[in-house]
């Protein structure tokens, strides 16, 4: 038996998982219209590749990754693009973002599918392929997987951790996936392992899923993989948090903001492994995922759902009860409320949870914090949640950051145990987004200051240059005049021979001085030669800024659309 480590804190809520594991995964039929948001992963928004009227095939790329920190999106079935427009997102804000709307044709006609021979291609190419296949973390974080599939500096990885813990109550999509498609998951793990050059693979599954453990065990031994170990871990929320799972399996604590590869580990969800298998071995991009429909429904079950299917359609299959009053995407501990039921299923949708006042009664009124320390005992990140709460509530954000606000994984354990019923996590979410906004504002102000100062400098320089040019021009003009005058006077002097008047002397002196100035300025041209290294560096910086500016103009060229409501 492998030695397991422990993380502090955590809670044991009611799991409510039994209801949705009674029946196998069912396929949710394609709806009449698919609404596929372009932005479904962490990172930039993909560029739309289709226009209204285009016919698309199943698996066809409809959004190209924006830079490397992004992942492509695809048509989930065949049909005709009816619009590329702003639609309400499955996001608590209820705001809209650019979506490709596809009227499905019912033929479900695949585009070209080709397995990708990753063994004979450079790793770099495989990663690009996965990016273009839209593979992102399916545990809920939707971080583009190709970015995590590069081994660290040392060129290999100690441990590849596969997350099959699934600790959130109600959610069973990974459980069912492991039960039914273990062989595919193991294939996917194998591919990841090769890409990462990982020495060993640890697959962590909470011990309340014996069937999934058995299925995975069978698949591993059937595949002949060595060094791939299934580890049953104690059931305790949030054992499925990536950091917590890594800690439990390897004893390593990856601090916030650090890349886990630098610590010799990397963690992927089982669903991601399966998606990678589909992309590489079958040539199928990520166009569907397993979604648990549970909560206030008569027939909770797992469905394979095409991305872009309205949640309403999927929920209907599970027969929601009449007193359903909200939809939550994700589980009851970390899920987010949906603005409506027409929002589409996206890559992050692991669960559609129907809620009611009976199932999730509104919390009793919030009481003051009595500093009982329950939250600190429950916090898996070893934070002092009540201190964070205090600072967030008083909007003392600097202090909140000092007390490691950003190490909070928003797992909700603290709010779960708080006897005063304080919505602690809400305060942290508020504080975090406020801090982000302020940082963005600060950054914008710094940039504006830079631009302003740059412009001031330039204006100053232009003024000087202009003055110089002007001086040179007048000097030249006067010289000509002086020469002309001189010839006239010399001709005249023969007859009248008057001595040069004092007035003319002064003029000449002036001209000479201007000439000297102009020459001096010509000898020292403003900005072309004889530069010090600092000046050169400055010019380089200015050039870089110009390049950035051009980049921004390019970004601006993207459609600038208003939200719909």
């Amino acid at each position: 038996m492998r030695q397991l480590f422990d993380f502090n804190g955590g809670v044991k809520p009611d799991y409510h998982k039994d209801a949705s594991v009674q029946r196998p995964i069912a396929v949710s039929p394609a709806p009449a219209f698919l609404v596929i948001p372009l932005h479904q992963s962490i990172g930039g928004t993909p560029r739309p590749l289709v226009a209204p009227g285009d016919h698309v095939l199943k698996g066809q790329r409809i959004g190209a990754a924006d830079g490397n920190l992004s992942a492509a999106v695809h048509a989930s079935t065949s049909g005709t693009v009816s619009a590329v427009e702003m639609r309400r997102m499955p996001h608590p804000s209820g705001l809209s973002a650019l979506c490709v709307v596809i009227e499905t044709d019912g033929k479900d006609e695949w585009g070209e599918r080709q397995p990708f021979d990753y063994r004979n291609r450079p790793r770099e190419e495989t990663r690009d392929y996965l990016r273009d296949a839209g593979i992102v973390g399916l545990g809920g974080a939707v971080f583009p997987s190709h970015l995590k599939l590069a081994p660290g500096k040392q060129g290999s990885l100690d441990t590849l951790v596969i997350n099959g813990a699934e600790c959130e109550p109600f959610i069973t999509c990974d459980d069912l996936l492991m039960r039914e498609r273990a062989a595919g998951i193991v294939r996917g793990i194998r591919i990841m392992r090769e890409l990462l050059a990982a020495h060993r693979v640890l697959i962590g599954i909470e011990d309340n899923k014996p069937q999934a453990i058995a299925a995975m065990q069978a698949a591993v031994s059937g595949s002949g993989e060595s060094d791939m170990e299934i580890v049953a871990i104690p059931t305790r929320y949030p054992a499925g948090g990536a950091k917590q799972l890594i800690r439990v399996l390897t004893g390593i604590e990856v601090p916030h903001g650090k890349r886990s590869t630098d610590y010799g580990v990397q963690c992927f969800n089982v669903g991601t492994a399966y998606a990678i298998h589909e992309a590489i071995d079958l040539g199928q991009p990520l166009i569907s995922r397993i979604v648990t429909v549970a909560g206030n429904v008569a027939a909770p079950r797992n469905y394979e759902v095409l991305l872009g299917t309205p949640m309403r359609a999927v929920m209907a299959l599970a027969e929601p009860l009449p007193d359903t009053d909200r939809i939550i995407m994700g589980g009851p501990m970390m899920g987010v409320p949906m603005p409506g039921d027409e929002v589409p299923v996206v890559k992050a949708t692991n669960c559609i949870l129907a809620g009611s006042r009976k199932l999730f009664p509104p919390p009793p009124p919030e009481m003051p914090c009595i500093r009982c320390g329950e939250c600190a005992k429950a916090c898996p990140a070893d934070l002092q949640p009540f201190e964070l709460y205090w600072f967030a509530r008083a909007k003392i954000f600097g202090k909140a950051q000092e007390y490691h606000l950003f190490d909070c994984i928003e797992c909700g354990c603290c709010a779960y145990v708080c006897p005063s019923r304080i919505p602690l996590v809400d305060y942290y979410r508020f504080a975090k987004s406020e801090i982000w906004a302020r940082e963005a504002e600060k950054e914008a102000a710094d940039k504006a200051r830079e631009h302003y100062e740059f412009r001031q400098q330039r204006e100053e320089r232009e003024k000087q240059e202009k003055a110089a040019r002007l001086a040179a021009k007048t000097a030249a003009g006067r010289e000509k005049a002086a020469v002309a005058l001189a010839s006239v006077t010399s001709a005249e002097s023969a007859t009248a021979a008057p001595a040069a008047s004092p007035e003319e002397d002064a003029k000449k002196a002036l001209i000479a001085a201007a000439l000297a100035r102009a020459r001096a300025q010509q000898a020292q041209p403003a900005n072309t030669t004889g530069l010090t290294p600092e000046q050169e560096a400055e010019i380089a910086a200015i050039e870089a800024r110009r390049a950035a500016m051009r980049e921004e103009i390019r970004k601006q060229a993207r459609p600038h659309l208003p939200p719909d409501n």
Binding site: H39, S93, A448, E552
Partner: protein, 187 residues
């Protein structure tokens, strides 16, 4: 006696030289107070404060020539930060300098623009690109919303567009104790 005085004098000279050298070598660039004030100002560079930019206003505040409540883009929050920094009383924004408005960016109607370059000259942060007789456009990410480009345009094709909230810029709200949960919104 004399040696003592000489030693003291020598010491003073050496120390003075060291201090002088240090003063030159480690001189603080610029006036730190001005920098600090400038860091708090919004850098909109709109001139509503009565100075040709945020830095001049910062200098004026530092010299005591201007009050801290003259910057409309900074708004109440900005005044509070200045008051904190300078240890002064918070006061309301002075009405003669303008009112706090939601953030906006300039937008050029490219159909109407005649390419006169007047707006380019007005923009304090080089956020407008274009050339003579060519259509101009605003780099929204660089625009501070100062509105200085609006009046010079001879064909009135520049308008200020409020910045709309997107999914990415949306912020979680300050939690309030709910009296009554919102009614169901299930269609």
């Amino acid at each position: 006696m004399l040696t003592a005085i000489l030693v003291m004098a020598l010491g003073a000279v050496v120390l003075g030289a060291a201090l002088g050298y240090a003063a030159v070598r480690f001189r603080v660039q610029g006036d730190p107070l001005v920098e600090k004030i400038d860091a708090v100002l919004p850098q909109t560079q709109c001139g509503q404060c009565g100075f040709p930019g945020c830095k001049p206003y910062a200098q004026a505040i530092a010299k005591g020539e201007a009050d801290i409540n003259q910057c409309p883009p900074g708004g109440e929050e900005g005044i509070r930060k200045l008051a904190d920094l300078l240890g002064r009383e918070v006061k309301p924004l002075s009405a003669e300098h303008g009112v706090e408005k939601p953030k906006a960016v300039a937008f050029i109607d490219e159909q109407i623009c005649i390419g006169c370059t007047l707006c380019i000259q007005a923009c304090p942060v080089d956020a407008i690109v274009g050339a003579a007789k060519q259509m101009h456009t605003v780099i929204a990410a660089q625009c501070t919303g100062c509105e200085l480009c609006v009046p010079p345009c001879p064909v009135n094709c520049i308008s200020m567009q409020p910045i709309v909230e997107t999914v990415e810029t949306w912020k979680w709200k300050y939690p309030i104790i709910e009296i009554k949960p919102a009614p169901a919104r299930i269609s």
